[in-house]
Subunit: 338 residues, 4 copies
C-alpha cells in the first residue's frame, strides 16, 4: 500500500503515522519526495481499508499495490478451479457448459417440455427462475416454492442438473434440498447477508455481476462466499449498465480474460440479459465462447410471446439449436469443445 | 402505451394483436403510418410490462405514456406527504431535517458523545450503522444487535430519534423495537424481499437510491414498499456511479425537483456518501438545501481518523456546526427553515 | 412520432398544436386517452427535432417511431455496403480485413519494418498515427506531415494501403493526397465541421465511436458524412467509457449485430484501444470476429516498451501472428474468411 | 510516480528499469516488498506518461503521486485567478456572473429583444450560439457568421459583452474580432487542434466539460490552452452523461469545490444543458450558487416553443427574473453577491 502525505505535513505527524502503521504489523518504507512524502507499506495489507486510511487529515492519497482478495487470488492459487455441478465440470479448459431454459418457471409441463428441448439441443444444465426479481411489484413474481419443486421434478425426468436464483436467506433450505447450482442475481451481488449465507452451504454458487459493480467489487463478493467456507464459485457476467439505450445492458467481454488472470474461478456469460434482445443473443454468445468463456446461460422458451417474463430476450428451441451448433464450431476453433 | 409494429406486419397478425390487447382490458387505437402501424393503448396499462409486450415478434417497439407507478404518483396524490419520525416532520416545506452521527456505531459512550454534539449543533435525528455493508469480508462488519441497543440507549439519553440501516429481513424485529426510521441502503434498493418486508411494518422507511438505479426504478422500489402497506417512504439520494474517479460517487442534484414533480414523497440528500470526501460535504450539502431538499444526512465523528469506517467522509463536530449554520442561512434564502 | 400532451391541456391548445404539425407536412392522428391526449404524426418526421417539439409547454413527452437517419438506414438501403480501400474490400461477408501497425509513426525505417512484419502476418492495411490526440500537452503529439509522408513511403514499399487519423480540416489536403482510409477519432466523432469536411472528399472514412456516444448519435455522425456526399463510411468500435477501472474502456460487442440491423455499413473493431492492455487484445479480437465484425484494427510494435505512445496495448509481431492465425480459425468457424 | 513491478521480476531487469528512469532525470527510490518490488520516482514526472511507462512487460502498475498539470495547478499558483470579460470579473469571490440569452441566435431583432430582457433581469453577459453543434445534419446549424455579426450588434446596442461557441479554427478571426468570451463546447473539449488555436489568442476562453470527460482530462484540456499562452480559462460544467434517462445530463455539483481545490481557475455552471428541462433549471442553478459557483450560464428565450433549438430547456424572461432574484438571495446567504 502506497500512502502519499499532504505537502507540508509536520515531521511529528509523519513519525506518528509511521508508528501507527508499524503497530498494525506492516513495515513502513519512507520516501522523501520534492513536494510530498510517501510511505510504502510492506507486509499483509489485506486488512487495511483504503478509505479508512484516507480519513487521516495528513494523508493525501492511498493506493493499493496488493489486491484486497486472497482466496480468489490466482497469485496464491495458480491452478484453475473446476466447479462440479452434479457431474458437469465447469472451468479449466473443460467443455464449455451450456445452461438453458425459461426465464421463469411457469408450469411443470411447460418446464419439462423446454427442458427436453434444450437437452436435445445440447444443454447440460437447466435454468429456470422460481423467485423473480421484478422492477414492478405488479409484475409476475415467480411461482416461488412451487417453482422449485417443478425444477426438482424436471431434473428427475430429464437428468439435467438445475440452476435457479435465490433471493432471500429464508429460502436457503429449499435450495439446499432441490437446486444444484445456486444463483446470486445481479441485484443481490452486494447483499452481503445472502453472500455469507450461501458461503456456509455445500453447493456451488453462480455469482452474477452487479449491474454497476467493478470487477474488483465482484471478486470481493466471491471472496465473501469463499471466506465463509464455500470454494465453489462461478462468475457470471450478464452485462453492465452504461449510457447506451439501444441494448438493455452492455456485455463486458474483457472480463473473461481479466478474471482468468486475477482469479482461478470459472467464468460464464449470460448473453440473454446482457443484450436483452433475442436477435443479439447468438452473436454475443459466439463472441463469448471465442474469448474463452467456460459456459453460457441462455433463456429459451417455446412460446416467447407468451412467456411470463423476459420473452423479448428468449430464443425459440430451433434458434437455440442453431446457436449451439455454431458455438461448438467456435469452441473447437479456439481449442475447446462444447 | 404506444406499440409500434414491424414494417410489413401481415394484416392478420395486426388484428390478432389488437384482439389480444383488447382482451387485457385496454382499448386499442390504430394508426396506419407510412412505414409502420402503431397501436395506442388506452386504459390502465400499469400491469402491462413493456418488456413482455416486446417479446412478440411483430412488435418493433413499446413506449409507455402512463408511468408504471400509482401509489407514489403525484398525479393521483397531489398533496405532499409529510413523514413523521417520532415528532420530526419531513417533507412539504417543513423545516429541513438534519440527521447526523457516525458512520458506524463503535461504542455506547462514543455514540452518545457524538449524539450530544450533533444535537447541540442542530441535528434532530441521530444516524449510526449497526449492520454495515462492507465491500471486503475482512473489514469491520458493524456491532450488529449490540449497535442497535446502543442506538436505543443513545436515543433514551438524548431524546433524538434514530435512523439505521437494515440488511436482512431476519433483523426486522430489532428495528421494529428500537429504530425510528429504517434505512434501506443503496446495495439493497432492489432487494425486493427486504422491500416487501419493510412494506409490512408500521415505521417510516428511508430508501437510498441504488448506485446505478434510474429514478424510475427508484420510484418503483418505493412503490414496492407502499404496495405492501407502508405509505411512509422518504427518498435519499446518496450519489450515483459514473466514470468520474476523483469523487466516490456523483450526487444527482436534479432528482430533488424531479422526484417532487413525479411523486409526493420527501427527498433527503446524503452529501457524505455522495462525495466521499469531508472537504466536499459542506458545498454539496448547501447545494442540496438550495435546490429544495427536505433533509440532510451527514456523517459526523469526533475522531475521523480513528473511525471504524468511512472516516474520510466524516466531519468533525466543529465543521458540522459551521455547515448547519450556513445551511440554515441558505434554507432561509429559499423560503425554508432548518 | 408520438406526442403525449399534458393532462388537462385545453382543447383550444390541442387544436392549435394539431394545426401546427399539419402545417409541417405531417398528418396528425389523435388519440384521446384516459389521462392524456396523444398525437400520432404520420409522414416524414426526419426533420422534426424531438427536443424542439418538447419545448411546447403543453407537450409532456415526444417519442420517435421513425429513426432520424435516412442514408445510413438499412430500411431504405437493404443491401450491405462494401467499402473498397484500394482493393481491400470491407463489409458484406467479404474476408475479415486486418489493419495493423504502430500507434504512432515514429520514423520511416521503424514504420517500414513494422509494416513488413504485419503484412507478413496477414494484415492487409497499415495503420499509423501522424497526428496524435494526447490528453497532455506535454506528451508526444505525433510527427505530423512528416508522419503522413512516411506512411505514403511505407505504402510504396510494401503495397499496403494506409489508414491514419485526421484531427483538423486544415490537414485535409495531405490526407486526400497520401492516405487511403481517413480515420475520424473518438474525440472528434461529433466535431461536426470535420465530419462535413470529410463528407466532401472522395475517400473512404473510418468513423470511430465517441467514448460516450450512443449508437444513434454514432449513426447520425455517419449520416453527416453521407449527407455531404461521401457514402463510404466504416464504423469502428473502440470501447466506451464506463465505471469500470480495470480496463481502459469497455468494448461494446453487441454493436456489431446492432449496426448491421440498423444500417448497411461495415463494422470494424479496435481491440487495442477497447481493452488498453496487450494481454486482453487477443481474446477481445477473437470475440469480435465470432460476433461478425468485418475487420480488426490492431496496434503492433516491435518494441512496445519503447513506443512513443500506447505501448501498453501494442502487440509484438509474434503475438500478432498468433492472433491472426486464431482469428482466421474463428472466422472460418462462423462461415467467413480472414 | 509509484511503479509496481511484476512478482518475480529478475534482478537484472529491475536494475535496468531503475537506470532507465534515472536517465529520464528522476531519482528512483526502491522498495522491496513481500510479493512485489516497488519504485518511488522522485522529481519532475510531469513528462512521463503513465500509459507509456506501463508498456514495459515487467511493470504491473503505475500510479501518479504528482498530478500531470502545472499551469492550472493550485499548488504552484495559490491565488485564485480572476478572468476579466470586458469588465465583468469572474472568479475569486467576485460577484457571481450571470450569462444569459438564447440557445441560438435566430435574428438580430429577436436577439436584441432577449438581450435587453436578460440585462434588465440582472445578466451581465449575453450568450448566443451562431455555430451550433447538432446531432442531426438535418437540424438547424446556426446562422454562422451572420449570427456573430448579430451578437456584435447586440453588444453595441446593450453594452453586454458576448459569449459564443467556436466550432472550427477556421472561424477564429471572427471570434477575435467580435466575441468577448470564446466558448469551447463539450463535444470539442478534446479537439486538441482547437484548444491549441484558442491558446494562442488574447481572449478569455470558457471551456465546457466533455460529456464523459474526467475532471483530470478537463484540467488537462485547460492546460493545453494555458501551455499555448492563454492564462484566461474558465471551466464550465454542463452535465455529464450517465445511465439516467429522465434528465438530459447529470450535473456534477462536486466539481465546484473540487476544481477550486486542484486549480485556481473560475468555475461556471450551465444548468440549462445539465438538466435539459426548463422546470429543473432554477433548483439546479440555486444549488450551484450555494455550492460556490463563480457564474451561471442560462438559456432564455421569449418564445421557447418557437426557438430554433433547445426550447425545452429555455426559460422565459419572467422565470429568469425570478431565478436571478432567488439566486441573489442564495449568493448572499453564502457570503457572495450576484
Amino acid at each position: 500500500m502506497i500512502i502519499t502525505l499532504k505537502p507540508n505535513t509536520p515531521q511529528i505527524e509523519i513519525d506518528r503515522l509511521a508508528e501507527y502503521f508499524e503497530s498494525k504489523g506492516v513495515r513502513v518504507h519512507r520516501i522523501h519526495g520534492e513536494n510530498f512524502d510517501v510511505f510504502g507499506l510492506v507486509g499483509d495489507t489485506t486488512r487495511l481499508d483504503e478509505r479508512d486510511v484516507r480519513s487521516n487529515v495528513w494523508i493525501e492519497n492511498v493506493q493499493r499495490v496488493q489486491v484486497p482478495y486472497r482466496l480468489a487470488n490466482r497469485m496464491f492459487h495458480p491452478e484453475d478451479t473446476v466447479v462440479d455441478v452434479e457431474g458437469v465440470k465447469i472451468g479449466a479448459g473443460q467443455k464449455v457448459a451450456v445452461m438453458a431454459g425459461p426465464c421463469s418457471v411457469e408450469s411443470l409441463e411447460g418446464l419439462c417440455s423446454i427442458a427436453r428441448a434444450v437437452k436435445d439441443c445440447g444443454a447440460s444444465i437447466l435454468r429456470g427462475g422460481a423467485y423473480k426479481p421484478r422492477t414492478s411489484p405488479y409484475s409476475f413474481q415467480g411461482l416461488g416454492y412451487e417453482g422449485i419443486l417443478d425444477l426438482a421434478e424436471a431434473r428427475r425426468r430429464t437428468g439435467l442438473p438445475v440452476v435457479s436464483e435465490i433471493m432471500s436467506e429464508r429460502n436457503l433450505d429449499e435450495f439446499i434440498e432441490y437446486i444444484d447450482l445456486v444463483q446470486i442475481g445481479a441485484r443481490n451481488m452486494q447483499n452481503f447477508q445472502l453472500l455469507k449465507a450461501v458461503g456456509r452451504i455445500n453447493k456451488p454458487v453462480m455469482l452474477k455481476r452487479g449491474m454497476s459493480s467493478t470487477v474488483e467489487e465482484w471478486i470481493m463478493a466471491a471472496e465473501y462466499i469463499m471466506a465463509n467456507g464455500n470454494p465453489n464459485v462461478i462468475f457470471c457476467e450478464r452485462g453492465i449498465r452504461t449510457f447506451e439505450k439501444m441494448t438493455r445492458f452492455t456485455m463486458d467481454l474483457a472480463v473473461i480474460p481479466l478474471l482468468k488472470e486475477k482469479t482461478h474461478l470459472p467464468v460464464v456469460i449470460d448473453p440473454s440479459h446482457a443484450s436483452g434482445d433475442w436477435k443479439l443473443v447468438e452473436p454475443v454468445a459466439l463472441g463469448a465462447v471465442a474469448a474463452g468463456a467456460d459456459g453460457l446461460i441462455i433463456e429459451v422458451h417455446d412460446r416467447p410471446d407468451q412467456a411470463f417474463s423476459d420473452g423479448a430476450q428468449s430464443l425459440k428451441p430451433e434458434k437455440f439449436r442453431a446457436l449451439v451448433t455454431k458455438a461448438r464450431a467456435v469452441a473447437r476453433a479456439v481449442g475447446r469443445d462444447l
